[in-house]
Subunit: 217 residues, 2 copies
Amino acid sequence: MREEFQADLDEISRLLVTMAEAVRAAMRKATTALLTADLKAAEAVIERDVEVDAIYGQVETKVADTIARQAPVAGDLRMVITALHISADLERMGDLAEHVAKTAQRRHPSPAVPAELRPVFKEMSEVADQMADRIAKLLATPDAEKAAKLEHADDEMDNLERRLFQVLLDDDWPYGAETAIDGALLGRFYERYADHAVNVGEQLVYLITGEPVTGLS
Amino acid sequence: MREEFQADLDEISRLLVTMAEAVRAAMRKATTALLTADLKAAEAVIERDVEVDAIYGQVETKVADTIARQAPVAGDLRMVITALHISADLERMGDLAEHVAKTAQRRHPSPAVPAELRPVFKEMSEVADQMADRIAKLLATPDAEKAAKLEHADDEMDNLERRLFQVLLDDDWPYGAETAIDGALLGRFYERYADHAVNVGEQLVYLITGEPVTGLS
């Protein structure tokens, strides 16, 4: 029974790692689409979001199946329920990558982001990418200390968002309201992506230590 | 055992209704704060979001406790897991009301929304309010047909968001980038609030009929 349960957990864990890798790849590709006005990349991200959603469905099914067959209690039960939360966050990260890709698609063949905003979006995407990478590794090998460090990366993202807004709100902003709105929404997509990555980290800390992190804002 | 399980479900259900009523009240008050530059209303919404988060925690605890004690399977298990998803959506709706309130607070004593945008935000808030009201009633008395109708209200919200963007992107928009960005983000908060309400409806349909609604975008 115990071995079976462990095998179930391992499979859930593998699904979550696959999902994390998929949403990482999605945001990388969405950023390429955004910064180079690459329509094919944008369309690929939009098409492939169903794959992330499908893994999400598999996690749900596997969790329900595990609870029904193994009737886990206490820490074991906490573990499988936490997997549900994590998969919901990852699913949302996939959606946010899709939103970035859709913005690139909508503005094609024009670039959605004017040249002077590209550096800040490049940095935002790098932070997002590191966070998604860290999550994928942590899901494979949980480590409370490393999981807690996702907060620092998130602070970096918040700083980048502030920098973005300084440019958008500068009196000399020459691109009009539409580009400013796109910029603000795009900034929010990256920032939300990072927030969900932090949520995953908090769920992992909770899983390992049993101590809830006050993650709800 | 069966009676105990039913009592557990009833309690979970009551918690969800309380949560739905709280996030409905939060968005009403946040809208007042927004449209009348009412700082006290904004602060009240921001302060009270912890209450929504606390009920969310109670749902989680109650669900884990129910699974551990009753070891539900099949439809019973599905029911309690669905409650988790619903509470996560409601928690997020509370956050979105808080975001609206924070925008009002940040711009105080100026109004965050110029006079010509107030009608569209008023309509958006009315649609949001009707959706939250319907959710609270459906959580108390589930009804698949009525739950599915939340989609229509959401279409209305999407139309309103389009109308909002037409004003923001008009060549004659006189208020500059900052107010346009605030308007776009605020529109997104209402639209996301409605999306989460639709998710709750889809979860309820799934709960009642066992048929998943393709809710993942």
